[in-house]
């Protein structure tokens, strides 16, 4: 009788604890979203979305987030376009071409370790590598400093390549998982019909893994969009595009790419009390746009994964 009672108490404490934990997490999540909307709602306007940031003490003249938005999109595209071919090739190589042995397990554990690597370490690495003179074509050569032939090492291209390096292990890992889900019978069937290995990969494996690959790409994009450390260290601290003006002319495209700028994350940082701006309204306004982009990416990933599941059923 006594034991039974203690179980009952035990049980109700356990239930209360479980529900309370979930309630805390959900409340914090909603709190973050609502705080962001509360502080940022005044800032959002067509003007805010379509003008460049402007140095001004007047709120009305301080401009909007056009260039940070373009910066986020530009950086994501550069990063993902560089990372995906390498990652996909590596995953295919690890799955189909490499022989089992020490080298393979070494590579796999290196990928594993680096897929959780702090982005700030990659940023540090890039900061030193891309100031080497041989990488000057990605940014600009430092001029006017005697005895220095270093590169400037901060530009959209540098940050984009760094982003690609940052997500490379992560995307390799997710592509590997995706390739594992392709049933062995498909591969054996194709090989048995006399198809070459490459034909099997390109005509059988990749098409059936398509939705998984797309999901991996979108998750990688999400990582780039949300990252601050790399942008901070390798894109330079300018809110505006610093290439030839006006930056949006096609003729000035390359000059924009090899010069500095900002993304939504650094814009939020600079306008927060931690940076120099201390104007919460625009910081949270930019955060609303950033969260909207991230939610869209997440929805796209869920949607595409859903299509994949339907097909498998």
């Amino acid at each position: 009788m006594l034991k039974r009672k203690s179980h009952k108490i035990d049980s109700s404490i356990g239930n209360a604890y479980s529900f309370l934990s979930l309630a805390i997490i959900v409340c914090v999540c909603l709190f973050i979203i609502l705080t962001t909307i509360y502080f940022g709602r005044q800032a959002i306007s067509l003007h805010f979305l379509s003008t460049e940031p402007n140095p001004s003490a007047l709120d009305a003249a301080s401009g909007g987030i056009l260039t940070p938005m373009i910066g986020t999109i530009l950086l994501t595209l550069i990063g993902i376009m560089i990372a995906v071919p390498f990652a996909l090739a590596t995953a295919i190589y690890l799955r189909f071409y490499s022989k089992k042995g020490i080298f393979l397990s070494l590579v796999k554990s290196a990928v594993n370790i680096l897929s959780g690597i702090p982005t700030v370490v990659v940023a540090l690495f890039a900061l030193v590598i891309f100031t080497q003179p041989m990488f000057a074509f990605l940014s600009a050569k430092i001029e006017g400093v005697e005895g220095s032939n270093m590169a400037y090492g901060k530009s959209f291209l540098v940050a984009g390549v760094t982003m690609a390096i940052m997500i490379l292990p992560f995307v390799i890992k997710s592509m590997e998982e995706v390739l594992k889900t392709v049933p062995e019978s498909y591969i054996h069937g194709s090989l048995a019909l006399g198809a070459t290995k490459w034909q099997t990969i390109s005509k059988v494996v990749l098409p059936s893994a398509r939705s998984g690959i797309a999901t991996g790409i979108i998750l990688g994009m999400g990582r780039i969009v949300g990252d601050t450390a790399i942008v901070w260290l390798t894109l330079g601290g300018t809110l505006r595009m610093t290439g030839n003006q006006p930056w949006y002319l096609p003729g000035n495209f390359w000059s924009t790419l090899v010069n500095t700028g900002s993304t939504l994350t650094t814009y939020i940082y600079y306008t927060s009390p931690a940076g120099e701006g201390n104007s919460l309204e625009v910081a949270f306004g930019a955060a609303i746009v950033l969260i909207a982009i991230i939610i869209l990416l997440n929805l796209a990933a869920t949607f595409i994964a859903g299509i994949g599941e339907l097909k498998h059923e």
Binding site: H7, K8, D10, S11, Y17, S18, F19, S21, L22, I24, I25, V28, L30, I32, T35, P85, F86, A89, T90, I92, Y93, L94, Y97, S109, A110, I113, L114, G116, I117, P118, T119, V120, V121, A123, L124, V128, I129, P169, T196, K197, W198, Q199, I201, V225, G226, T228, A229, W232, Y269, S272, P273, A274, A283, F284, A287, L290, I291, I294, I295, N298
Partner: protein
């Protein structure tokens, strides 16, 4: 003939791309340690056992050109990383297990799906926003609740006490870590076969007993994997933590007890962000790379630990790993 040539091209293309990416991955390891080596060599064992990072980084910045590295004591930073991530991980694990049990065992399917979507949203909120909200909400609250003028005067000779401290870093980290733990735990709990639970019920166990004695132990490996991944996220978190941590590498003192939570701290990753503006000088660069090297080592240890646990669990479950 033509077909054969095309096949080879694909094969060599894949080999080339994958060797480049594998080379880059190994190169990062080698490069970080190579650049960290001068600082590690000069500091010796004091690197792990001494404090004083704040004054050393000043000295390093002001050192004469030609000096490659000066001795550093990273104990404050290492403890800052271990404490902030460790405490946050403890709370996040408690919250995470409770939340995933509720999601999997108590909620109807639709509500559970909604909750999982919310947790995913929390996971993908960028760290700069966590930092911003920590800075304008958590920090002032801590200041109001715990920091009194008397307390500030008492510690004036050691540090300036403010709302930006270890406690703020821990609170921010808890909610950055918890989504990782929840999503892996939910997967693990869902994977526990229904028959296990039914066996428990058939013995007359209450729902809670079934969860505690059968479901959670069977899902253990997945939950531990989530905790380890969460630890990785906590260690590497730079921006959000650097915004709320106070930026001083205070070495916690056991005598102070819980007051340590109110002292400023500076974890390794936050130190890299905080001091990156001084990167032009060689000793600072070496010091920051040694922080990076330590982070890589910790990450490697976590990932190897996860691998070992996974193998053990598989063996225990009777699979051939």
């Amino acid at each position: 003939m033509n077909k054969k040539a095309k096949w080879d091209f694909a094969k060599y293309g894949i080999q080339l791309l994958s060797f480049v990416s594998i080379a880059i991955i190994f190169f990062i390891f080698i490069f970080v340690f190579y650049r960290a080596w001068p600082a590690l060599k000069v500091s010796g064992i004091g690197f792990f056992t001494q404090g004083g990072f704040d004054t050393q980084i000043q000295d390093a910045f002001n050192s004469e050109s030609g000096v490659k590295a000066i001795p550093f004591g990273m104990l404050g930073l290492i403890l800052g990383t271990l404490l902030s991530t460790g405490i946050a991980l403890g709370f996040a694990t408690l919250l995470g297990i409770g939340a995933s049990v509720t999601i999997c065992e108590f909620l109807p399917a639709k509500a559970a799906r909604l909750m999982i979507a919310l947790v995913r949203l929390l996971a993908s909120i960028p760290s700069v926003l966590f930092g911003l909200i920590g800075l304008i909400i958590v920090v002032p609250i801590i200041e109001k609740l715990f920091i009194t003028t008397d307390l500030q005067i008492a510690y004036l000779d050691q540090f300036q006490m403010s709302g930006q401290n270890l406690l703020a870093a821990v609170i921010v980290l808890i909610f950055m870590i918890v989504p990782t733990i929840v999503s892996l735990s939910v997967d693990a709990i869902k994977a526990v076969p229904k028959s296990y639970r039914e066996t428990g019920f058939a013995f007359g166990m209450t729902r809670f007993r079934v969860i505690k004695k059968i479901v959670l132990p069977s899902a253990r490996s997945g939950i531990i994997a989530g905790v380890i991944l969460g630890a990785g996220r906590g260690i590497g978190e730079a921006i959000a933590v650097s915004m709320v941590c106070g930026g001083l590498s205070f070495i916690p003192n056991i005598k102070l007890g819980l007051t340590n939570l109110l002292a400023p701290t500076l974890p390794l990753a936050a130190a890299i962000v905080n001091k990156s503006e001084a990167m032009g000088s060689a000793p600072v660069e070496a010091a920051l790379f040694s922080c990076g090297a330590l982070l890589l080592l910790m990450g490697a240890a976590l990932s190897i630990g996860a691998g070992i646990i996974e193998k053990r669990m598989r063996k225990a479950a009777g699979y051939n790993a």
